[in-house]
């Protein structure tokens, strides 16, 4: 079995992000009879975004369980099942609904191992699609990864490619801790290379998605692709941007992030979630508190969602979260001469 490291020279097939997740589910269901999937409409309907399509037919109602619309009971029952010898995977149709299950995830599942003195294991995966861009309004569009990072005991995964989604989900299912796996709903149809043979991606290992020398962007989820596009465009002008994807926020690969910031001397953090209290602040603080700090040539800049609920109207929705233009501007600001940079800092609005 391969572990990690992406795409070799050999040409491999391309499948979508949703298909990659489905493959991971299927392989883990086949591998371990203790694994089962439950959630609202995951059965014959195939899941709200079609991710579990076909699994019900293959594995039947004992392994693919349609539930009532009861997020707290779903998450709590999954925690109870995980405590007692099975390995549940839960799908919550929109990550905004996780707030309905937050006590069970953050107060029960996350704390049990520590609170009970290490006597239990809670092998539980909570999958849920996150992010804006579907016109579904404020209660179906949020990105709340930071919320879950704030509960010790949880692991938090935000995959940015089909390859990562599959390898990380398989690792999540085999992990003996509760894992919050935040799928990116706008990426479900995006395709990318995924090898036929089995592989796992370890948690806590960032990937440098693009090497560069002038500036580091740390981004996760849907923002990674957007940042790579920006980096590609700037490359034509001779600006060399490195893009680092932590892939798992808990555990976090601090070493790769600080090493990259130390190397380039400039750091932009990009996330779709709102800026205040977002995980970007944590990464900025991490770098500011590291050996990379004295090597920085410019302030650390965050490009994040504005501090607003996600609006409906397409033009508003698109601009509520980072755009290529805002990312590019941040990169240019940090690379500009000192006086101009001072101006951009003064003019930066929250």
């Amino acid at each position: 079995m391969r572990t990690d490291s992406g795409t070799g020279a050999r040409r491999i097939r391309e499948i979508s992000y949703a298909e990659a997740i489905r493959e991971a589910l299927r392989e883990e269901l086949l591998r371990d009879p203790r694994v089962f999937l439950m959630g609202e409409d995951v059965g014959i309907y195939g899941g709200t975004f079609g991710v579990s399509a076909g699994l019900f037919r293959e594995f039947g109602p004992d392994r693919i369980l349609d539930t009532p619309i009861s997020e707290a009971a779903i998450a709590g029952a999954a925690a109870g099942a995980a405590l007692t010898g099975t390995r549940p995977i839960v799908e919550i149709p929109f990550s905004d609904f996780l707030s309905l299950a937050l006590d069970q995830i953050g107060n029960q599942a996350a704390k049990m191992r520590y609170m009970f003195g290490g006597t239990v294991r809670v092998p539980l995966v909570v999958r849920s699609p996150a992010g804006s861009g579907t016109g579904a309004g404020a209660q179906h569009s949020q990105s709340q990864e930071a919320v879950f990072c704030h509960f010790p005991g949880l692991k938090v995964v935000v995959p940015s490619t089909p390859y990562d989604a599959k390898g990380l989900l398989k690792t999540a299912v085999r992990d003996d801790n509760p894992v919050v796996f935040l799928e990116q709903k706008l990426l479900y149809k995006d395709t990318g290379p995924v090898p036929e043979e089995e592989y796992l991606i370890p948690f806590g290992k960032a990937e440098v998605k693009r090497a560069g020398s002038d500036l580091t962007i740390v981004a996760w989820g849907r923002m990674v692709g957007m940042c790579l596009d920006v980096a590609e465009r700037l490359d034509a002008e001779g600006i060399s941007v490195e893009v680092v994807d932590p892939r798992t926020l808990v555990p976090l690969d601090a070493r790769t992030i600080t090493a990259s910031a130390a190397k380039t001397g400039r750091l932009v953090i990009v996330h779709e979630a709102v800026k205040t209290g977002g995980f970007g602040g944590e990464i900025a603080a991490l770098v500011a508190d590291s050996e990379a700090f004295p090597l920085l040539k410019a302030p650390i800049r965050r490009v994040a969602g504005f501090d607003i609920p996600v609006p409906y109207s397409p033009n508003l929705e698109r601009n509520a979260v980072p755009t290529p233009e805002r990312i590019e501007q941040a990169v240019r600001d940090l690379l500009s001469p000192r006086e101009k940079l001072a101006g951009s800092i003064a003019g930066q609005s929250r």
Binding site: R34, S70, A72, A73, G80, Q104, M115, F116, G118, V120
Partner: protein, 342 residues
Amino acid sequence: MIALQPENSTEAASASAPSAGPRPGYPEPLLEDLYRRMLRIRLFEEEIQYHMSRGRIHGTTHLYVGEEAVAAGAAANLSDLDYITSTHRCHGHAIAKGSDLASLAAEMFGKRSGVCGGKGGSMHLADPARGNLGGTGIVGGGIPIAVGAALSIRRLGQDRAVVCFFGDGAMNEGTFHESVNLAAVWKLPVLFLCENNLYGVSTHVRRSTNVQDLSLRAAAYGIPGRNVDGMDVLEVYRAVGEALSHVKKKGPLLLVAQTYRFLGHSRSDSNVYRTQEEIDVWKKKDPILRFRRLLIARGDLSEGRISEIDEEVRDEVDSAFRYAQACEEPGLEDLLRDVYAD
């Protein structure tokens, strides 16, 4: 030293006469077992109260004194393989389910040898080896967990059941509704066992719930609902036994045990919301004294045998608390341990 004080008044004796009607003949070891389980809980908690009042145990605690018949009568139907989920008032459940008293006492003192390594404390006693999936500080928080344990039982094809303990207050949490419904549609082997002690902290169930017979709520989920006198350990034992055979064959059942906590909700409760008269009336139904009188009156156990058990349990509890106080506290090397499983 604190000891169980038998009430001597004749009024108390008549008020707590054995339940009417014929009783099935129970074997002596079972009767001893029920008595012992209740007494362990009572003496253990009296020790907690004693040490807490002297500042030797920190934090808060929710004592179960008065409610012992529920945990004891229920747990006597269970093996270590059967599961329970518990509440913030979890000492009685943990003791009845068979956890080692010394480890429980050590947990109360925050010691490394505690059942949770000193990291859980009074509200979080868990003992997976005994099937105790833990107490929780969140009212209603354990109810979905019970459903999940039953789901594992189903998935793994085990001949086990889950007893889900919760209070009257938890019945107004959303998790109660969601979980009972889920267990009912999936016909999972969970006994939902409500300990109705009449108060959610200070609020009487009359003021929190528009249905006074809480077992009626079972109808909303299409499952049987029953009541039992939670001050009568034999009645609880019988009712839980019957409920469990239903639960294993046909799915969940709601059993409401009418009980009462003799002490305050927690350490800080000064009982301003209820009268001494009310408390006294219930104390006359003290499940331990009542059972002891019954055993003697029926000749099930001799006074001499009961005194022997009293002594044995007294010694067991004393030795548990001596052990607990002598144990080491966890060190800083334990602080960051066990957040995650490897």
